[in-house]
Symmetry: none
C-alpha cells in the first residue's frame, strides 16, 4: 500500500478500514487480520498496526477478545457512517460553503461540477 506524508500512516490504515466497512466488506462480528498479518500485508511495523487497531477500538468500530483477535463491532457500519456524516456536516460543509461565498461560486456552478464528477465515474 502507498501512503501519503500528509497524514499519519496509522490513520490512513484506519481510514482504509472505515472505507471498507462502509463499502460493505467486513460483516459485523468478522475477525479482522491479526496485528502481525496486517503488518506484513501493509509492509508496516506491527506497532503501527497496533496503533490503528487501538484507534478503531476507541471509536467502537472493532472490539477485542483476549488472545483471539479483533472483531468488527456490531453496528460498525452505522458507527462509521455516523462518524463521517457528522464530521462532514459539522466541519467540512460549513467550510466549503464559506469558501464558496468568498470565492463567489454559486450553487448552480456546484451542481455543474457535481455532474462533471459523476460523468467521470
Amino acid at each position: 500500500m502507498n501512503f501519503t506524508n500528509e497524514k499519519a500512516i496509522f490513520l490512513q490504515i484506519a481510514d482504509h478500514f472505515f472505507d471498507s466497512i462502509l463499502a460493505g466488506k467486513w460483516p459485523e462480528g468478522e475477525r479482522i487480520p491479526s496485528v502481525r498479518e496486517m503488518a506484513l500485508a501493509m509492509e508496516v511495523n506491527p506497532n503501527t498496526i497496533m496503533r490503528t487497531y487501538s484507534y478503531l477500538q476507541d471509536n467502537d468500530v472493532v472490539f477485542n477478545r483476549r488472545g483471539l483477535g479483533y472483531f468488527v463491532s456490531p453496528s460498525a457500519k452505522e458507527r462509521v457512517k455516523a462518524i463521517k456524516r457528522n464530521n462532514l456536516i459539522e466541519n467540512e460543509l460549513p467550510k466549503l460553503f464559506e469558501a464558496m461565498r468568498l470565492l463567489e461560486i454559486d450553487f448552480e456552478e456546484l451542481r455543474e461540477l457535481f455532474s462533471i464528477h459523476h460523468s467521470k465515474l
Copy 2:
C-alpha cells in the same frame, strides 16, 4: 487568536490573511503589520510570523521592500481567489463528492444543508 492543533499555526495565520484579502480588507499596496507587531497581536513566536510572510510572498500575495516591510501585492485578491478556487475544484470537491456517494447523501440534501447554512448568516 485561537489555533487548532490540526494545522500548522503559520498556515492558519496565512489563511487568516487570505480571508481578509478576499473579504476586501487590505487594499492593494497597503503595508501589512511588521513581523514583531503581528507576533505580539497573535501571541505567537516571531519566527512563526516570519514563516507566514515568506509563505505569502512565495504565493505572490505580498511582496517585500527591504527596510520598509511587507506590502499587499497588486492583484492580490485575484491571486488568492485563483489559488483557492483551483484548490477547491481540483482537490476538495472531488473528495466531498466521493464522501457523499459513500455516505448516501444526495444532491438534494446538500442543497438543504446549503440553505440552512445561509439562513444562519
Copy 3:
C-alpha cells in the same frame, strides 16, 4: 458467561468458583465438572479451564485424583474465606482508605454508601 478484558479469563473463572464455594454450593468432597465439560459450558478453550483448575489446586481449594477428576477440598470454604479475607485486609482496604483520604470521603459517607448498598439487596 461474559468475561471482561481487564482480568485474565482463567482468573475470572476461578473467582466464579470462589464465590460459589463461599455461597455454600459445592459441598466438600464433591467432584467439580471435568475440564471438557466446563470448557463447553463456559465457551472457552480447555487450556483455559486447565489453568483455572491448576490455580485452584495451588490454592488448596480443589484436589485431583488421577483418572477421576477434581474434587472440592475439605475445608475449601474456610480456605477461600481466609484467602479472600487476608487479601482484603492486606491489600484492598489500605488502598481504599488511602483513596478515601485523597478524595475527601469520610467514614460517615462510607457508612451511608454502605446502607444504600444493603437497602438495594
Copy 4:
C-alpha cells in the same frame, strides 16, 4: 522511580500525575515536564512518556500546545477527583461490600481496620 509488573508503566506514571494533581501540586495551566525530561527523570523510554501524556490528554487532564509542551488543564483537579470518585462508588465499593457480606465482616470491624490504618500514618 520503581514500577510494578502488575500494571503498565505508562499507566503507573499517569496515576502518579493523578495523585500529584489531587494532592494540589500542579496548579492549573502549569506546564508539565517535556516528554524527554520526564523520560530521563523516570528512567524510561520517551515513547512510554508519550503514551502517558496522550492518555492524560484523552482524559482532559492535560492539553497540548504545539511546540511548547503539555499543560495542566483548567479544572484538572476536579476532573481527576470526579473520575476517581465515580469509579470508587460505582465499581469498587459495591465489590467491597459484597465481599464483606460473603466473608462475614461487619461494619464495626471495618471501622476498626480504618482506625488502625489511620493510626499508622
